[in-house]
């Protein structure tokens, strides 16, 4: 089992497998890791709850309650077969939780009173209002939201990495080439960065490699089996299609 402190070392992200390995009797570092993952990916859940028709207050309440139970007890047995992938597990556990809540209809029990995560629901609400008002199933909203969060995180990683080496400007310029390597205006970019066109091409290629690595690393952190990375990427790709 990896050292719990590995998430503080360099860029190694918090690993879902670490949480899984800790099992039901998770120790403090594993709980902290779970909390960290939840903090990173809570918005898609909020969006899901909103999409199911709850208003802002109820959604915030339910989301917070869900995390409280997830982090304190993690007893969503029904979601066990989904455990290999964080994305699927989170949604399955949330569904389970919502079903439970509906059955009980007692909001008092939620979270045992304590809010384990500090989640900015005001920001979430405004973000929610920016969402397209298209007809979308809650699941789809969740998947799409999840993909966005993941991309944000991975790209922020790369950006931080560049900034740490004093290449923030190069990043800001080169990032435009990321999705369109073939038809990027390298000459203009070279002029912008005051370097040769060849150097820009090399640097753009390097950025793409780093992006690819960062994205895969981020996804790898959310699946138990590293072999699932490609499947998971394909699932996210589908979620963003059409």
């Amino acid at each position: 089992m990896p050292e719990p402190s590995s998430r503080h070392a360099g860029f190694a992200p918090t690993r879902w497998s670490l949480v899984l390995a800790a099992g039901k009797h998770a120790d403090a570092p594993a709980r902290a890791a779970l909390a960290e993952l939840c903090e990173a990916y809570w918005y898609p859940l909020y969006a899901y709850v909103r999409r199911r028709g709850h208003d802002a207050d109820a959604a915030a309440d339910l989301t917070q309650g869900f995390f409280a139970r997830l982090i304190e007890r993690d007893d969503f047995a029904a979601a066990d077969r989904e455990r290999g992938r964080f994305r699927a597990y989170l949604l399955a556990a949330l569904r389970h939780f919502l079903a439970d809540e509906r059955d009980r209809a007692t909001a008092e029990k939620r979270g045992g009173g304590a809010a384990p995560l500090s989640l900015d629901f005001e920001r979430a609400d405004s973000k929610w209002h920016q969402e397209p008002a298209v007809d979308e199933t809650p699941e789809r909203a969740y998947e799409r939201g999840f993909a966005h969060e993941l991309l944000d995180r991975a790209l922020a990683h790369v950006e931080r990495d560049y900034a740490a080496r004093g290449e923030a400007r190069a990043f800001a310029v080169l990032v435009r080439t990321l999705t369109a390597p073939g038809d990027a205006p390298y000459r203009e970019l070279a002029a912008e960065l005051a370097t040769s066109e060849g150097a820009v091409k090399v640097a753009a290629h390097r950025l793409r490699e780093r992006w690819r690595a960062a994205l895969r690393e981020e996804v790898a952190a959310l699946v138990d089996d590293p072999a699932d990375v490609d499947d998971e990427l394909a699932a996210l790709f589908r979620a963003l299609s059409g």
Binding site: P2, S6, R206, R212
Partner: protein, 766 residues
């Protein structure tokens, strides 16, 4: 809130929501694409010799010899020094980073410090025309990857290569340099077979450049990730030299098996025919946790070298037949002298102390002790003499030596003696002496011959064969033989001592059976112990029986021995405190319990080394299970009868309590068998409806044995005899149990048939 359509994939997206206004789907697409696709060939085109040559006026560039993730390697000749060198240019993309130059200089200085015949030396480094370069020793040969692709690498070669890599790694680790990228591509082998490791520490240079992203992403940059230790994935910034040892383990595994140790991989010996001791080395190097791995590369080397030495000594013995013949002569001569002495003692005992039983027994004991001891040199020959390569080789290669002649002569003498004893009058005083002498001679001949056969056959086989784990049946046979032998020897000693004690206490009832008991014990026990022990040594390398998975055949033998010893203890406790019976049980228990305890202790203390592997149910299990069933049934009857009518079974009550012990042990054995087979049920069900399982076979065997007992019991006239009643009882009960079992089984089968028919008709109807 504007929506844009990505002009690449045509998917609508909102630039305000997506990172940096990029199409999220395309962003993921970049991550999904294969590594090769991401890297357009145009961006890694190697510079031509003509383009590089002007930058290095001191070198004559010959050709581009290699191209990898780190850069390009040219073969060149140093003009002044007139020697071949390798020029490595680091891929230009690394140079874009401002801090790279400084780090490159620092790494190059560290590398220049390493001076070892197993490490590619660095002569020069710097930056010219935008290229960071290293001028290195040129190794005329191939890298291990090429070698593995082009030829089959023998285990012996692999051992030698890995051992050399270990030496080089240990040196660099001592210097505080961790390679971080040990893989076949970086292990060069020159035309003389010397191993040199390249690219020391360069991985760190490039790896750090890319931060943690290099880990799963870019295969070009730091090689395939399969050689990376788990901690290198988890905490890339803080790996130590043990990561190199892991990578070395991967290389070794690949060398031996041709495959990578991925997922739940097999031990190398399961895939190829190699010494099992190599498994331990490979698996220890591949431990997931660095603390459990080899801590130093030199430890790997030490282990490999000792295995290699063993192999060499066996593969290339120095055959000197004279030495071997001499050694045999010494061993054999010693044995003959001792035998002669034993015979003299025996004659003295026979003529002078014929009337005094206990004194005669003591002399006989001494004589047989000597006779047994005469064989000891042969047994120890296996331990010492037979390990000498010359001895082994001579034994194998000399064919018919004079020892064979001597053996033939001995056998002839023994045979003549036996025939003479058979044909002489039974009441003649010399007949008994002739009998015993001839038997001893024949026995010795057979033993010497067996020993010779075994030592030569065993050593003539390739080492991997005898290192293979012995089969369960063989272990049980060996164990049983050994313990029957041990028991008989204990028995002989006990009966001698018991006779002595009894006559000293004036309790001698003039029985003749103690003497018969003693003789049978000796004649049976000696060969059993000798052959059993010899087989144990020869077939299992002494301790392999204890490292076997789970419960081995040998364990059953131990259990039987423990059972017998316990039975003796119980019987001694219950027998009346006078007469031969009490003493012999007591002495038995006293001598055998420590032996049993010793074996049990060895078993217990080695349990941590035992790997869990499910045992296949074999013939041994069938026999054991049926014996267990018999013992259980018999013991239960004995207890029952003993409780209801104590007078019928035995006056002293020892039999029924002994039967209780038997019942318990038999039950425990049967239960254990059941438990273990239930656990491995996945592949072979305990109770299959269709096919015959091992339980059925055990039941059939038990039924046959029980039936024989039952019929035998009826056939005997004497119905008053306890043993006959006992046999009948046991046999009858076993048959009854069988009938019930088979009835239940056929019932199950009928039900299964019916449900299948129903299923079939439903399918047809559907």
């Amino acid at each position: 809130m504007t929506t844009r359509t990505c002009h690449r994939c045509g998917t609508p997206f909102e630039p305000t929501r997506s990172p940096h206004g990029l199409c999220p789907k395309c962003l993921i697409g970049v991550g999904m694409r294969d590594a090769d696709e991401v890297e357009p060939a145009t961006e890694r085109v190697a510079p031509t010799v003509a383009a590089v040559a002007p930058l290095f006026p001191e070198l004559d560039l010959v050709e581009l010899v290699g191209q990898g993730g780190m850069g390009f390697v040219f073969r060149a000749r140093h003009r002044e020094l007139e020697r071949d060198v390798a020029l490595k240019l680091l891929a230009r993309e690394h140079a874009l980073e401002p801090s790279f130059a400084e780090r490159f200089r620092r790494e190059a200085r560290t590398l220049a410090r390493l001076s070892h015949p197993g490490i590619v030396a660095i002569f020069d480094s710097g930056e010219r025309g935008g290229w960071f370069y290293l001028v290195m020793e040129f190794v005329d040969g191939a890298n291990l990857r090429h070698l593995m692709k082009s030829t089959r690498i023998e285990p012996k070669q692999a051992l030698s290569i890995v051992s050399q890599v270990c030496a080089a790694l240990q040196y660099s680790h001592d210097q505080g340099v961790v390679h971080r990228d040990v893989k076949p591509e970086n292990v060069l082998i020159d035309v003389e077979g010397r191993v040199k490791i390249a690219d020391f520490g360069l991985a760190r240079l490039v790896d750090r450049d890319l931060g943690a992203f290099a880990l799963t992403g870019s295969h070009q940059v730091i090689g395939t990730p399969h050689y990376m230790a788990p901690e290198q994935w988890e905490k890339p910034q803080s790996v130590d030299h043990r990561a190199d040892i892991y990578a070395l383990g991967v290389v070794f595994y690949e060398l031996l098996t041709g495959e990578m140790p991925l997922g739940r991989f097999d031990a190398p010996s399961k895939r190829v025919h190699i010494d099992v001791r190599l498994d331990e080395v490979v698996l220890k190097a591949l431990e997931k946790q660095p603390e459990r791995r080899y801590q130093r590369a030199s430890e790997v080397q030490t282990d490999l070298d000792s295995i290699a030495r063993d192999e060499t000594s066996r593969a290339h013995p120095v055959p000197t037949p004279e030495a071997a013949t001499l050694a045999w002569a010494g061993v054999f001569g010693l044995g003959i002298v001792m035998l002669a002495l034993a015979f003299a003692l025996f004659l003295i005992a026979r003529t002078h102390f014929a009337e005094r039983l206990e004194t005669r027994n003591a002399w006989w004991g001494a004589a047989f002790g000597l006779a047994a001891a005469s064989l000891l040199p042969l047994i120890s020959a296996h331990g010492r003499l037979a390990r000498r390569p010359d001895f082994v080789a001579a034994n194998r290669s000399c064919g018919f030596t004079w020892i064979d002649g001597g053996l033939g002569l001995l056998a002839a003498v023994g045979g003549v003696g036996l025939v003479a004893a058979l044909s002489s009058r039974a009441d003649h005083p010399a007949t008994e002496t002739l009998w015993i002498t001839s038997i001893v001679i024949v026995m010795c001949t057979v033993l010497v011959w067996l020993t010779r056969q075994f030592t030569s056959r065993y050593h003539a086989r390739p080492s991997a064969d005898d290192a293979r784990e012995p089969s369960d049946a063989k272990l049980f046979a060996v164990g049983l033989l050994l313990f029957v032998g041990l028991h008989c020897l204990c028995s002989a000693a006990s009966s001698t001592a018991a006779s002595a004690i009894v006559s000293a206490r004036g309790e001698d009832r003039g029985d003749t059976w103690p003497l018969a008991w003693w003789r049978v014990s000796v004649v049976l026990g000696l060969p059993c112990v000798i052959i059993g022990w010899h087989w144990l040594k020869a077939s299992s390398r002494g301790s392999a029986v204890w490292t076997r998975a789970g419960f081995s055949g040998f364990d059953f033998a131990v259990l039987l021995f423990v059972a017998w010893a316990s039975y003796c203890a119980v019987a001694a406790t219950l027998a009346p405190r006078d007469g031969f019976v009490f003493w012999i049980y007591a002495l038995h228990a006293a001598t055998e319990l420590p032996v049993a305890a010793y074996f049990a202790w060895r078993r217990w203390s080695s349990r941590s080394r035992v790997e869990r592997v499910a045992l296949e149910p074999g013939l041994v299990h069938v026999v054991l299970a049926s014996l267990s069933i018999l013992a259980c049934v018999g013991g239960a009857i004995a207890v029952g009868v003993g409780l209801i009518r104590p007078t019928v079974i035995a006056a002293d009550g020892s039999t029924w309590l002994g039967g209780g012990v038997l019942a318990l042990l038999g039950g425990a054995l049967a239960l254990d068998l059941l438990r273990r087979h239930l656990r491995t049920e996945g592949e072979r069900p305990l109770l299959a409806v269709r096919e015959r399982t091992w339980l059925d076979r055990a039941m059939i065997t038990a039924a046959v044995l029980g039936g024989a007992l039952w019929v035998g019991g009826w056939a005997v006239e004497n119905t008053e005899s306890v043993s006959v009643r006992f046999a009948r009882g046991v046999g009858g009960c076993t048959v009854a149990v069988n009938a019930i079992y088979n009835g239940m089984r056929s019932q199950r089968r009928r039900k299964a048939d019916e449900s299948e028919r129903l299923e079939d008709s439903r399918t047809e109807a559907g």
